[in-house]
């Protein structure tokens, strides 16, 4: 009986010939990422709870300050300082204010075949390059940092067979929201979402990141694409080499299988307060908005900035909308500047913030008020996620978000 990509990655990390869903294995981790959402707690535990504090291999660690940058309070600053001082003391790679952690990881670290723990739920993004990335808590992260290992319950894999090509004006984000709407917020709990089929060939690494990133919103442990030529070319451009390139075996076992015809996908929106409340975008048109957000580890890359800029070019953001544009990384920001996109956004009246999690994380930058409505390319629309408990968040594509910012109410790009 064969293995899926995810099983092969775990087998390699566990030093086992074969693993199967349901097994628990001890694995050697290739890399660990921790951000300012929890690292201060990890550092406290390191100092206060370990009998023998040590780091198995500092070179495998990456610390990234991205959630609350620039800092909004002395307490935030103190938590980030704790992280910075620890990184400095232990010679851990440290990034601050240079972008959202998953984007930094993809740009600089992730390689096909690696098993990566990140103390952030959207670590599943790394599957876009054929790596197994999964979100863990800070205790797991600490255990991994100390021992270099962890335990994993081998998850079942569900196959998502993608066919055809997305129509003009429809984006991978629409596709992934549609998938989540179809299978539900726990539709892939503890499972791996594996994307395959001829439709995959039409998706860039950027597109694949959009899909993998949101897998956790269906409860998945991770999502994965085969590291094909597109992925390997992307990797080579960045001067990195794969750890291992895996394909799923013909006779691999899947817990389920879905087929999505990309040509049938339409612009959608996830209504408040759940990511799986997905409806055609047309159904929510006309909802008055107070803020629009284009950014996040899901949708703040150059592709999405291009889409947004094309829509707001020679137009003005509505007077009553705060339109936050937040590139996912400094690299994305520089490229967007080079391409004239930042200039377009500036001239349209948008607010362009430094690369960071911004209002997607919702605790400070761009917070929304009582009964306010946000349309966002962020990852979640949970109750109160972006501000006041009575506020509402709609999730949609960059195109829908940009068009809505111009109109002052939710609308799709073709309606402008």
């Amino acid at each position: 009986m064969g293995m899926t990509i995810a099983e092969k990655i775990i087998a390699l990390a566990a030093g086992a010939d074969k693993v199967k869903a349901g097994d628990i294995h001890t694995v050697t981790l290739d890399r660990m990422m921790s951000n300012d959402g929890t690292t201060h707690l990890t550092v406290d535990m390191y100092h206060n709870q370990l009998k023998h504090p040590r780091i198995a291999d500092p070179k495998k660690m990456v610390f990234i300050v991205d959630h609350n940058v620039p800092s909004d309070s002395p307490k935030t600053a103190a938590s980030q300082k704790k992280m910075r001082d620890f990184a400095r003391e232990h010679d851990i790679d440290f990034w601050e204010g240079q972008g959202v952690c998953h984007q930094i990881m993809m740009e600089h670290y992730v390689c096909p075949g690696e098993l990566i723990f990140g103390a952030d739920s959207h670590t599943c993004t790394y599957g876009a390059l054929g790596a197994f990335g999964t979100g863990v808590g800070c205790t797991d992260l600490l255990y991994g940092m100390v021992t270099g290992t962890s335990w994993v319950l081998v998850p079942e894999t569900v196959k998502f067979h993608l066919t055809g090509k997305l129509p003009q004006g429809v984006y991978p984000r629409d596709l992934m929201l549609t998938i989540i709407g179809t299978i539900g917020a726990s539709g892939a709990n503890y499972q791996v979402m594996e994307f395959c089929g001829d439709g995959v060939q039409t998706l860039s690494v950027n597109d694949r990141m959009v899909l993998c990133n949101l897998a956790v919103e269906a409860g998945a442990k991770t999502a994965v694409f085969e590291a094909d030529e597109i992925a390997l070319a992307w990797l080579e451009e960045r001067g990195r080499k794969p750890k291992a390139v895996f394909k799923s075996d013909e006779d691999a076992v899947y817990a389920g299988e879905y087929t999505f015809d990309l040509s049938k996908i339409q612009p959608v929106a996830a209504k408040p307060d759940f990511v799986d409340h997905v409806v055609p975008a047309k159904e929510v048109c006309g909802v008055k908005i107070d803020e629009a957000f284009l950014g996040s580890c899901n949708n703040g890359r150059i592709d999405e900035l291009r889409v947004g800029a094309a829509i707001v070019k020679d137009r003005r953001v509505s007077d009553h909308v705060r339109f936050l544009v937040v590139p996912a990384s400094n690299e994305v920001y520089l490229q967007a500047m080079e391409e004239g996109l930042i200039d377009i956004f500036m001239k349209s009246g948008a607010i362009i913030m430094n690369p960071n999690c911004s209002v997607c994380w919702g605790s400070c930058q761009g917070v929304i008020g009582e009964h306010e409505v946000l349309i966002s390319t962020g990852t979640r629309n949970f109750k109160g996620r972006a501000g006041h408990p009575s506020s509402k968040v709609y999730l949609a594509s960059a195109a829908t978000v940009a068009a809505s910012a111009v109109r002052g109410e939710i609308c799709t790009a073709d309606m402008l």
Binding site: T38, K51, T76, Q80, A185, S186, S363
Partner: protein, 160 residues
């Protein structure tokens, strides 16, 4: 384990509801815990007593990987979380910090906030309102971590 009061929550209860983003960078769990369930049940931190239970529906703890979520519950003295199903990261985090998370398909629909419940981890049962409901047992690997008081405690023990 002993008898405790139930605080019941809905399906797909996400980690932002357990502890909102703006409190995650506070220096300690003790400073965070007073904000537990702030937008849903602001009185929860004051009303919950050590030994009480949180009961949820499907997909409890979905959303972010913030370990602060199970930790504020534990810091407030919550004895265990019982739900129809759990989101993966929350489940793993809870076990790692020594907070029992119990899958029980029937009990959540049969109880309300304020009801009393008795949980037996050894028997794998939860009892409320005169009924006893079977719970799914943890895999031995996870049960061992829980028994040792969490992942870091188990690490420290292994290194004796």
């Amino acid at each position: 384990m002993s008898v405790g009061k139930i605080f019941k929550f809905h399906d797909d209860l996400d980690t932002d509801q357990i502890i909102a983003s703006q409190y995650l960078l506070l220096p300690t769990i003790d400073e965070m815990k007073v904000h537990t369930f702030e937008s849903l049940e602001p009185e929860f931190p004051k009303e919950v007593r050590p030994g009480d239970f949180v009961v949820g529906g499907e997909n409890f703890g979905c959303g972010s990987s913030r370990e602060q979520a199970p930790r504020v519950l534990k810091a407030l003295g919550v004895q265990a979380v019982v739900a129809k199903s759990f989101a993966r990261i929350f489940y793993r985090n809870a076990i790692n910090i020594g907070l029992p998370v119990i899958v029980c398909k029937e009990l959540p629909d049969a109880v309300d906030s304020g009801d009393e419940m008795d949980l037996s981890l050894t028997e794998g049962t939860a009892a409320a309102k005169g009924h006893t409901y079977p719970c799914t047992k943890l895999p031995p690997y996870m049960q061992r971590i829980l028994n040792q008081g969490g992942l870091i405690a188990s690490l420290n023990k292994e290194e004796v």
